[in-house]
């Protein structure tokens, strides 16, 4: 991938990701409502929420909190930009981790017990999903001989043919990353959980709006990961990849609505077991056949 396509990728991500992410969140809420037998909010509701949050009176617990939240936002955007510019997969994974850490520090800095429990659970969730994310990167490396996204999407083979186990494992931890039940431990979009807003308890107004838009950027980037499994040099593969991305998101909504929240012990055990059985075994097989 040359410089022009990289710049186009970054520009498209910066402009289109919040729009697509917001629409996806709106469709998510509509489909969730229909699954629960309700009519549901308008598709544009997440945008109304976002602009409402911008209109609210700014209240911050301390000055440093907003700084950390802005760092979270900036690093999420940088992660996505690196990804859509065809950058290095390992760098992308670690800059995503850095972004999440900034959000955790922001929550810790408020000294509120609810925010702290949420932040602690966020750390546990990161422990749960991190191994599988790394296995995914290693899998792509063994298959393509390169960590670069630009090499992966222009290779002759389709990732899913050789990495089906890693794909299953990745979709499993995607539930954690998308903050879907049963793994919405640190922060939930639904009311009436034992720890409702967790991580975001102390954020309000503009700060909350920044977190919302960062989540839209993050969700689009995460679906980009799913895209990687199906993209290759063939012309029709991007179409298939986008269809699979949407199907995966629908599956996540279905899981979200059919499971109650689990304990963090289950989240860690289950995702490590999935990472070992599906991810690691897939890596071993790949190692022997290649």
């Amino acid at each position: 991938m040359n410089l022009t396509t990289s710049i186009i990728g970054i520009a498209a991500y910066l402009i289109l990701a919040p729009i697509a992410g917001g629409l996806l969140a709106g469709i998510d809420r509509k489909i969730s409502a229909r699954m629960q037998g309700r009519f549901g909010p308008p598709i544009l509701q997440p945008f109304y929420d976002f602009f409402k949050l911008l209109e609210k009176e700014p209240i911050t617990v301390n000055r440093v909190q907003d700084f950390y939240v802005m760092c979270f936002f900036i690093f999420i955007v940088i992660t996505g930009c690196l990804f859509f510019a065809g950058g290095d997969l390992l760098l992308i994974i670690f800059s995503l981790t850095l972004a999440s850490i900034f959000l955790v520090i922001a929550a810790f800095s408020s000294n509120s017990p609810y925010a702290q429990i949420g932040a602690e659970r966020e750390l546990l969730q990161m422990m749960a999903y991190e191994p599988m994310v790394l296995i995914t990167a290693v899998g792509f490396y063994i298959l393509n001989g390169s960590f670069n996204i630009s090499d992966i999407v222009s290779s002759q083979v389709m990732g899913i043919q050789y990495l089906p186990g890693i794909f299953i494992g990745f979709v499993y931890i995607l539930t954690i990353k998308l903050r879907k039940s049963p793994f919405d431990l640190s922060m939930s979009h639904h009311g009436h959980q034992e720890l409702v807003k967790g991580l975001t308890t102390e954020f309000s107004g503009k700060t909350m709006a920044v977190i919302e838009i960062a989540h839209w950027y993050e969700n689009i980037f995460l679906l980009g990961f799913v895209y990687l499994f199906f993209a290759n040099s063939l012309a029709w593969s991007p179409v298939l990849a986008v269809v699979v991305c949407l199907a995966t998101y629908f599956l996540e909504i279905l899981i979200d609505n059919s499971y109650a929240r689990m304990k963090w012990q289950f989240a860690i055990n289950a995702s490590w077991i999935v990472a070992i059985t599906f991810g690691f075994v897939n890596l071993l097989v790949l190692y022997f056949i290649s």
Binding site: A33, Q36, P42, Q45, K56, K197
Partner: protein, 156 residues
């Protein structure tokens, strides 16, 4: 038009209600009434909320709680008193531990009487609250200077 009327988030607090009005408030979220059609979400967090729904009257022990929730909500905010107990104290008015309606502690914008208040009446009350919310939002734009002055006086 202000976006605050399109996405009113709610926090619900049970003062010393008999739970009758609480059940009716929660009934508004069920498929039968589904207030999420209007973008209304039950947040459970005062810092995210725009509308404060209080059921039941205020008693000696929860004065501070009601005040704290109210103070933690960022402007513009609206308080809706649900049920006759929250409106005036109802049949508990003469009790030794009851202060009376919610307006004895914090300013109330909309009163929804009833024992228990019906979900239709509660939704009506919240929609009425949206009008007040829009007015308060407009007032924030018009006179930030006045608001600053008031704040300075309060601090002094």
């Amino acid at each position: 038009m202000s976006y605050v009327t399109k996405s009113p988030w709610i926090i619900h607090y049970d003062g010393s209600s008999c739970n009758g009005c609480d059940i009716e408030v929660l009934a508004c979220l069920t498929p039968m009434y589904d207030v999420e059609r209007f973008g209304i979400i039950n947040t459970g967090n005062p810092k995210h909320a725009d509308i404060f729904l209080v059921t039941g009257s205020v008693n000696e022990q929860n004065i501070t709680v009601v005040k704290l929730i109210y103070e933690q909500m960022p402007e513009p905010k609206v308080v809706v008193a649900i049920g006759i107990c929250a409106t005036s104290g109802g049949i508990f008015k003469e009790c030794y531990n009851i202060m009376g309606g919610i307006d004895t502690v914090i300013p109330v914008d909309v009163y929804v009487p009833g024992c228990a208040a019906r979900p239709e009446a509660i939704i009506d009350g919240v929609v009425k609250g949206l009008g007040v919310l829009a007015e308060k939002r407009a007032a924030m734009d018009q006179k930030p200077a006045v608001a600053a002055e008031v704040k300075e006086k309060e601090e002094a």
